[in-house]
Subunit: 132 residues, 2 copies
DNA sequence: ATAGGTGCAAATGTTTTGCTGTCAA
DNA sequence: TTGACAGCAAAACATTTGCACCTAT
């Protein structure tokens, strides 16, 4: 991203979709939803914009533990939880551990710029289904 | 994995390779190294064994932040650091945060079974190269 | 003896890219 | 006006799988 980006209608739709959902969607979900608004949008365009938006820091890409990425309209650091039953990705309502990077720096001598923390288990919905 | 597994020479070689390295190799690295010992081994066999060994809990698969997996001969929980300059994956010499899953359970009501923590930045080698 | 494993090659699923035409700034 | 971006389709890439043969138990 060393040049200016344009606000195309395709990019706008993708940004709006991501801002309006909390399901941490896949590229394909974004594509299918975007097609409802712009029927001629291509999957390549969706991927290109997701990448540009990620590089610009407007969204973030999540890619732990599966063969495909998910995208999060919230670029602020926060932790995620994956339900191993339904596959849903949820935000974890705990604070960021601010001092952690520094602690690892002190222990190792590396430059530690960020950390990612991801939980897995069973979400409330699936937990209740299992019990009934 | 509901049936018994056999110890084939292919699986033995793959296990030995993973036990003998700390570079958290990719499937392709394992394949290339295994071919030096068993020239006719196939990439499919490497993938099949890596999967079986992962499911059996003998090794672990690492798949954060890239388009391909790495494999770790050490199945015990520990944290990793990825150098964004050289791509190396290193073990982080800090203790596992034992109570963390429980804290998230208390905050959310979910069943939290595990967590993964991954750091990124610049390793010592690359840090020194940058300075010179 | 037999069922799990192998090698090979084709298939799969996700993401990227080359090309030509289009449109936002 | 012009160069960043679109659509389309082909390619790239990591990984999985079907099949016929092989081999550990």
């Amino acid at each position: 991203m060393q040049y200016k980006t344009r606000m195309t209608k395709q990019k706008k739709v993708i940004m709006d979709l991501l801002e309006g959902t909390d399901i941490h969607p896949t590229a394909d979900w974004v594509y299918e939803e975007a097609r409802k608004i712009l029927p001629d949008i291509s999957l390549g365009t969706v991927y290109r914009n997701l990448r540009v938006l990620t590089e610009t820091g407007i969204i973030q890409e999540l890619n732990y533990g599966s063969t495909y990425s998910r995208y999060d309209g919230n670029p602020d650091p926060h932790y995620h939880f994956i339900c191993k039953v339904c596959g849903r990705v949820l935000d974890v309502p705990i604070e960021i551990w601010e001092s952690l990077n520094e602690e690892v720096e002190d222990a190792t001598g590396w430059i530690v710029e960020q950390h990612r923390l991801e939980f897995s288990g069973v979400c409330t919905v699936c937990k209740n289904k299992t019990m009934s």
